[in-house]
Amino acid sequence: MTIFINTLKRIFRNKVQIFFILLFPLAFMTLGFIGQEPAVKVAIIDKDHTKFTADLVRNLKTKAEIRNIKEGKINDDLKTLKVDYVVVIEKGFTDGLIHGKDEGITSYSVKESNFSKPVSAFLEQWLNHAKMVAEKVQHNPDSFYTEFTNYDQLGAIQLVHKLAVNEGAERTKSVLGYLIISMLYTSLIVGLFIIFNKNNHTLYRTLTAPVKIRTYMLQITGSFLFVSFIQITFVLLIIKYVYKLYLGSAGFSIFVLLLLFSLVTVAFGVAISSISKNIIQACLIGICLVAPLAMLGGAYFPLEFAPDIIKTLSNFTPVSWVITGIEKLLQGQSLFSLGKELLILILFAIIFFLLGTFRKADIAK
């Protein structure tokens, strides 16, 4: 345990390292907030003015930013991005809907954009509910409003709750993505630390004592895993109690998953130390590898709309698997259901660790 304790002592004696380990992830994670998509700008031209359409507008206000535009300028306003989505409700729409007619409402958006999809999905869901209610009350307008109010209250509560969970989970995923990137950058400290010990010859001297290279690497790795444990605990506590981000019931599982990922990042640092001859080289190699790993893995932005080739390549990065794991945990799956993700992360850790230690036959060199 001598090397383990000595390493911890040296890490926490260095203020720059403490900043990099504890405060850098927090600062970096704020990008996860900044990176949130802005609210969708929706214009509603309501010519019907019924209680039903008023309800629809009220509910849409909770999902989007409502803008006023003139009907004649819909195309221009969409082109200039003044609005992202326009709904035109014709006079008699509510009556028609109650009587089973599927007309009187038109929506406009830019064809290539997916930005307004959540609003259109919401609108579609809302109308489907209304049609179901109308059918249930056998197209009786009086019964429709009574039944719809009940249904609306029940449905809206469910809907709002579901959306809130998704939005929260998305934000959490995005913020944790930035934590993962900062964990990768922090892992470079491991590589630099080992190279520094090579350069100041303490590695050489340590190994002239009755210490095996594997023991040395394991203790160094262990000390950095302990540092990761502190880092992840600290950051998740901040996420939960200061940022108040949604973790659902997955808080502990995410903690365990990130701890497993730290095994990968520390081994990654060990591998960097092995392929670098000096500190500058390690920094350059590290930075050049971390950025694509994080991007390909989906830590900077989701890969849902990325080309297939990128999606395939992302499978070869550990980041992709930890992000998938987090996604699944936030969707309510248990840690035990992440067998594939956990196994692949362990494999990445083993590969990186072997890469970092197999070239150590001639220690004196």
Binding site: N6, N200, R205, A364
Partner: protein, 310 residues
């Protein structure tokens, strides 16, 4: 025999770094490995320290092959690397504490040994300071302190005086003699022949990965020289005396240099007493007398055709 190195071979690709190096070290010796930079001294040390694999031959410590008993053997070694190997962000005390623990020292014994090593190297007053602020000589001394904490049977010093001032060098050389008196066997590598001459009981001269000669200093110088040189400072110079000295059969040359006579003659022919008798008979007072013997530098020059610092 404490350490035996037999026919050690080490290759780096096509380059033969060690070519059947063979030597043996007895307990209580200060054994010098003398050779120019790149001769193979550090490679030999790295192999003995189990840090570098080798391609042939064997290394035995107290009869045990080091490959098979690596950890056991390492426990008995104290290595002073050529470069300063210290944590600059830890204090002198913390450095000693770390390296002491690696050799299994704990508790009061560790504290005792740290105090002893600090006192031995004259660093007790600076134990709470970080080596960052130390002079080169002090760092070298701390470098040595870290290697002697666990009272090793064999201390291996790889050029421990490189780049330091003469005062610190003397301090280190005295310390090595003291360690030897206290019972440690020492391997001392250097390309400074004066140091090796001063402290080593036996020497192996290494060049191009081979031991080209080994033995005591006297044995080595005997290899290359059958003559000795007397330098005599006298009260007055008498030219007829020079001819008389030259007439001694074993004397080859006698020249006057200022107030001194330089007399070169065959070794083992009682030249000193014969010359002293002649001077006494002539009533010339001897102010000083020095017998100069061939140096290891001369041995190296003769054996390799080049100087140690070439």
């Amino acid at each position: 025999m404490l350490l035996e190195v037999n026919n050690l071979i080490k290759r780096y690709g096509d380059f033969l770094a060690l070519d059947h190096i063979t030597f043996a070290i007895n307990e209580g010796e200060i054994f010098g490995l003398l050779g120019p930079n790149g001769a193979g001294k550090t490679t030999t040390i790295s192999i003995i320290s189990s840090l570098t694999p080798y391609d042939g031959g064997e290394v035995k410590f107290l009869g045990k092959e080091i490959k098979r008993h690596e950890m056991e053997v390492k426990q008995e070694f104290g290595i002073v690397p050529q470069e300063i190997a210290l944590f600059e962000d830890l204090t002198a005390y913390e450095n000693l504490d770390y390296f002491g623990r690696l050799y299994g020292l704990r508790g009061s014994l560790l504290k005792e040994r740290i105090a002893e090593a600090l006192s031995f190297t004259g660093l007790t007053d600076r134990q709470r300071d970080r080596p960052k602020g130390f002079s080169g000589g002090m760092k070298r001394r701390l470098n040595i302190a870290c290697a002697i904490l666990h009272h090793p049977k064999l201390i291996i010093m790889d050029e421990p005086t490189v780049g330091i001032d003469p005062q610190s060098r003397n301090h280190i050389l005295q310390s090595i003699k003291e360690l030897n008196k206290m019972g440690s066997t020492i391997i001392y590598t250097s390309h400074y022949m004066e140091e090796v001459e001063e402290i080593c009981t036996r020497v192996a001269i290494v060049d191009h990965g081979r031991v080209i000669a080994q033995g005591t200093k006297e044995e080595l110088t005997a290899l290359v020289s059958t003559e000795e040189k007397l330098v005599i400072e006298i009260s007055s110079v008498n030219y007829s005396l020079v001819e008389q000295i030259k007439s001694i059969p074993s004397i080859r040359e006698c020249i006057i240099k200022g107030n001194s006579l330089e007399v070169v003659g065959k070794k083992g022919e009682h030249n000193v007493s014969r010359v002293i008798n002649l001077l006494a008979e002539a009533g010339i007072e001897i102010l000083s007398l020095n017998v100069e013997k061939p140096s290891l530098e001369a041995v190296f020059l003769t054996l390799t055709g080049r100087s140690l610092r070439d």
